[in-house]
């Protein structure tokens, strides 16, 4: 590569890439379709307004007031207390078998508790089900007449003591969608040049590997930013997910994350021989990111080894940035270590990836 880097040739590749993209209906659809579909699926799965969940009630007080409370809770139509039991143990067994989603326990000292500090009601819910947790949280706000306690219902989420706030999902979802689409699109796009024989011709032109690679991924940077905006807008519009911090900083984080993901895609493309292998390899990098980044399971709950792995995954850092900026209103002055990690990752992968793109056939 004796020639200097040429922006004219880079531009030639970008123009070609955009022209091809315009005709590629499937990719086109995926750019818009994947974020929309995922946001709606994940969003509604969490925010779904549940009704008539099967529930049991263990009324150990058996007073006028306790019967009235059950009646009022029933009216909220979230839970359907159609099973009256005598022992809390029976309720727990039913919960375990999945016959009911929640068990309401009214202790024998219910009347006394109404005047005291301890919550007068206890709702045991199936914590393995996010929808139920959400519903239970509504019940927890239920106003009880004649009580002095602020928390009227004590919610005990079984099976999942670490509750996921629903808002946590959308910031993380930006990262998940970007990982999924950016890595796969780039890997496929570059392998396709080789698979369809285009590379053999390109090598005989003055085009350098850096110009080719950058030219091919630049349009995806724009696409990544469009996807980010799409998720943010839909998130705000449908689920009222706020951006409490600076949008500019959020986009900066997204940009770095996009570059890191594209570099990973380029790297994959240098290892595989066909588009099919590229997809497989992309999924291979995608799964640990989704599982370990804190998107699905809380980072704090993972064993040490998993935490170490999580630290070297770009998605982990991006999710922390996105949640911090969007939900806690944090700025980069707080979060700069995460941004730095992302920048280092992007730069290192980009260097390795471009160096691996050969300009010969052997």
């Amino acid at each position: 590569m004796s020639d200097r880097f040429s922006f004219a040739r880079l531009l030639a590749v970008v123009i070609k890439e955009l022209r091809q993209l315009r005709r590629d209906r499937l990719t086109y659809g995926m750019i818009i379709g994947i974020p929309t579909l995922q946001l709606i699926l994940f969003g509604y799965a969490i925010n779904m307004d549940v009704r008539h969940l099967p529930a049991a009630v263990v009324d150990q007080a058996q007073t006028q007031t306790s019967r009235q409370v059950v009646e009022e809770l029933q009216q909220s139509r979230v839970f359907n207390f159609n099973r009256a039991l005598h022992h809390a143990g029976t309720g727990e067994a039913m919960l375990r078998r999945g016959e009911v989603k929640a068990v309401l326990i009214i202790p024998a000292d219910f009347e006394r508790r109404l005047q005291g500090q301890r919550p007068p009601l206890q709702l045991i819910v199936d914590g393995s089900d996010q929808v139920v947790q959400q519903a239970a949280r509504q019940i927890a706000q239920f106003p009880l007449r004649g009580t002095t306690t602020t928390a009227s219902v004590e919610v005990l989420p079984y099976y999942n003591p670490h509750r996921n706030a629903p808002l946590n999902t959308v910031p993380g979802l930006i990262g998940v969608i970007l990982t999924m689409t950016m890595v796969m699109f780039t890997a496929i796009a570059l392998v396709r040049e080789r698979e369809q024989g285009n590379l053999e011709f390109l090598i005989t032109t003055p085009l350098s590997s850096a110009e080719l690679t950058l030219g091919k991924v630049l349009p995806f940077v724009a696409i990544g930013l469009i996807q980010t905006s799409l998720v943010l807008l839909l998130g705000k519009w449908i689920f009222q997910v706020p951006v409490r911090g600076s949008p500019l900083e959020l986009y900066l984080a997204a940009l770095l994350f996009i570059i890191a993901s594209l570099a990973l895609g380029i790297f994959i493309s240098t290892l595989v021989r066909s588009q099919f292998q590229a997809i497989q390899a992309a999924i291979f990098t995608f799964l640990p990111q989704i599982l370990l980044s804190g998107f699905m399971f809380p980072y704090e709950g993972m064993p040490k080894a998993a935490q170490w792995i999580a630290e070297v995954l770009p998605l982990t850092h991006f999710i922390r940035l996105a949640r911090g900026i969007m939900l806690r209103g944090a700025g980069l002055d707080d979060l700069w270590p995460e941004l730095l990690a992302l920048a280092v990752f992007a730069a290192a992968l980009l260097v390795v990836a471009v160096a691996r793109v050969h300009k010969r056939l052997d």
Binding site: S2, R9, I15, F201, R360, D362
Partner: protein, 311 residues
């Protein structure tokens, strides 16, 4: 090395693991001519072309192309040489014009020059009506014209063509060769690989390759004169039986049925009576005569003994 030659190689060798694809090849390709690589599939034609372009590194040997040291000066060669790949290597989801524009940009042509050159090439290679059509929807002959147009877009001094007519009908092939000669008229050197005898016949110079080795090199006329074998034409009612008999006969290098006759390659014209005797002895009636040498005889004579010896 002489500057009269566009390409010179010395002991050019390429190995893939234990397999030697190109074996100590010494070539001299004169400027301004059509030079043909003739050989069966897997004989090292494509590997040699790729090494000459600088796409593959040689395991051993020296290459000089247009007075450039290859692979060291391969980048400089890219501006002066064109390459038409064996399989269609342009973008199927771009139109004819978009493909040409893309390549023009890669070579750094100005906007105005690009427009002018694309017009020119579309006109010369009858692509005007197809300019807005996606390359993937073109016929074999049309794709090949587009590939040639992009290969010559930068007006190369040297053009490599790797089996350019393998997916094309006979009429398109003839037209295509007319275009190639038009290029040599303008001073371009062409290196064409093929396994068609009629195409090889059109070349100014030929190299016959087998198993990576150069078996013969020269003009078709020269190669025919130096063939070192005599073709006989046997016209008989029982060609298949005659073939069995003759293949067992000493001095017979090859025996191929062509319609109702047999083409027999013998080591010398003195073999004629022996062939007639052998047929008569088996009761096969037929007419045996010496015939003109064709390029297939040259190819068979150059490669046949080695095929048997090696397998």
């Amino acid at each position: 090395m002489s500057t009269d030659n566009a390409i010179e190689t010395h002991d050019l060798t390429r190995r893939f693991g234990d397999f030697t694809a190109v074996d100590h090849l010494n070539l001299s390709v004169p400027r301004g001519q059509v030079y043909g690589f003739l050989g069966p599939n897997g004989c090292g034609k494509s590997t040699t072309i790729r090494m000459l372009c600088g796409l593959l590194l040689p395991s051993e040997g020296d290459i000089r192309v247009l007075d450039l040291d290859i692979p060291k000066q391969a980048e400089a060669l890219k501006r002066r040489a064109g390459y038409m790949t064996q399989t269609f290597s342009l973008y199927r989801d771009l139109t004819v014009r978009e493909n040409l524009e893309f390549v023009a940009r890669l070579f750094g042509l100005s906007r105005q020059r690009t427009r002018q050159r694309v017009e020119e090439l579309c006109h010369r290679y009858q692509l005007e009506a197809l300019a807005s059509q996606l390359a993937g929807t073109l016929s074999g002959g049309q794709k090949q014209r587009l590939a040639l147009a992009t290969a010559v877009l930068n007006q190369p001094e040297l053009l490599f063509l790797d089996e350019p007519t393998s997916a094309v009908d006979p009429q398109s092939r003839r037209d295509f060769w007319d275009e190639l000669f038009a290029l040599t008229d303008a001073g371009t050197t062409l290196l064409v690989s093929t396994h068609y005898m009629d195409e090889a016949e059109r070349c100014h110079q030929l190299a016959i390759l087998q198993r990576g080795r150069l078996m013969a090199q020269g003009s078709p006329e020269r190669l025919k004169a130096d063939v070192g074998a005599t073709p006989l034409l046997v016209v008989t009612a029982a060609p298949r039986k005659a073939q069995t008999v003759l293949q067992a006969l000493d001095g017979v290098r090859s025996c191929a049925q062509i319609g109702a006759s047999l083409r027999v390659l013998v080591t010398s014209p003195d073999q004629l009576p022996a062939v007639r005797d052998a047929l008569r002895k088996e009761g096969i009636e037929g007419k045996v005569d010496i015939t003109d040498v064709n390029l297939e005889d040259v190819f068979v004579a150059a490669t046949h003994g080695h095929t048997e010896g090696a397998s």
